[in-house]
Amino acid sequence: MSTLKFLLEKEFKQFFRNPFLPRTLVFMPIMIILIMPFAATMDVRNINVAFVLNEQSPLTNRLIQKVSSSEYFNLVDVTSSSKEALSLVEKGTADMILEVPVGFERKLTREGKGDLLLSINSVNGAKGGIGSSYIATLLNDFALEMRDELAPVVLSSSTPVIQIVPRYLFNASLSYRTYMIPALITILLTLLCSFLPALNIVSEKEAGTIEQINVTPVSKFTFIIAKLLPYWIMGFLVFTIAMILACWVWGLIPVGNVATIYLIAIIYVFAMSGFGLVISNYSGTMQQAMFVIFFFMIVLMMMSGLFTPFRSMPLWAQYITAINPLRYLIEAMRMVYLKGSGIQDIARNLAALIGFAVFFLLWAVQSYKKSN
């Protein structure tokens, strides 16, 4: 095994002399923990509202006051022309139009009913939907205030009201960030422990130095271990830094056992390193390898439940996620990190990842050839 020592020495020197790799170690956790959580959020804020007023009254002023004082809405314009408001939406300055018809105040005070027209830009369906539910809540609130002022006694006692008080488990503040961070950390491992060593091996192929190694007595196994070990060490270093940052910056502490997290992460890294090696064995040039990696990275991320729950995908797509190692890791990470699940709860994920590890490592060894 003394050969391994010399090879590891070489790999570490090359790693730290590379102009790009040591910087990745610093920037990756910063990107993933400090910057991405701001971007990966489903909270809708700063919805721009334009009002179209067909009448001016104390009530409409109060309505405008109510909407513009909410932290979710910005008032961009108050106009009397719906055409002008629509052009604001077309330009992108406004997200929704709230139109107040003629006789709104009179109808509301006399009949206890009022109509408003709400138009929402729904190019982004999720944003449109969330925006409309926010404004609905706000208007409801407004209506309740009105009702209490106009007929405080009669109405409130005659209508039965069911009040639902939800208790949100595991992520009490319903923060999308809390949900995303444990999953985003896994992307670090995928890049560092799987795809970077694959590119490293292909770069030796391109430079021709791998040929020089192939005419020496260095065994396949020693060569591959010497390639992987430095990236495994770096990967888990960055993984640990990311978890510490998550705790320090976002106060996100794993509910479950940290050892369980490392266990499943290690098995995942075995599987994905095997996958990376397979790619490197079949690629002759960096360009080829990069293209294949890029393709698989997108598939891995999109079909893993990272952004959208895979259970809401169509059945055929769910079958595809079943052969995605990342899905099992992300699922288990969220379970352990947020719910505090133990090993028995994630046994199915562990078993799946062990299967992938065996499959890819065997394939990698079989497809690596010192001679042809």
Partner: protein, 246 residues
Amino acid sequence: MDNIVIETNLLTKRFGNFTAVDKISFQVTKGEIFGFLGANGAGKTTAMRMLCGLSIPTSGSGTVAGYDIARQSEMVKRNIGYMSQKFSLYEDLKVWENIRLYGGIYGLSEKAIAEKTDRLLQTLNFENERNTMVKSLPLGWKQKLAFSVAIFHEPKIVFLDEPTGGVDPVTRRQFWELIYQASDRGITVFVTTHYMDEAEYCHRVSIMVDGRIEALDTPKNLKLHYGVKNMQEVFYHLAQTAKRGD
């Protein structure tokens, strides 16, 4: 016949229905400088790769340093050095680090590596370059260093694939002095080249045409046989019968 270090018998390599190397048979003895000549695409590199255990023969057989090239390729690799056409040191490692790496790969001890590195750098007049990154060395220096690294572990045979390509005449001359020194120490040198003046330096020369060995003898006998003045003309005479180019 203990002195024979390379022997091939009808060695053949086919890729699909293209026969790169076609039933070649020859012997090389210990300490010999064996020139392996041929036009581009004649099959030199493929033949050399088979001898080094990088490529598995389609048919025929061969032994290198007493080991079968098809079945004992890992044993062959312990006993050879190899320097390829493509430059084969690590550009982002320093001179001493490259020497140390290959010494370590062949199982030399830390102490032996340190001592031999000092001696080697001294002989090459490289002491000032010990800590230089290989990528900033001039090509000729790199090639001399690559050769020295290839024989650092005292192999029985060293294979050189166009070692002096792109190198100036003075450095080429120095390079061949290194080759002679190695040969004097009993290391067999198996070298391919396109420079005919270098062919004259070899003890024996083989010329490959379309995957077959068309001529094999000392440069002197080859010139006599074809009735020409130099190796250049011997090569022209044989190479123009070739049907395939590159």
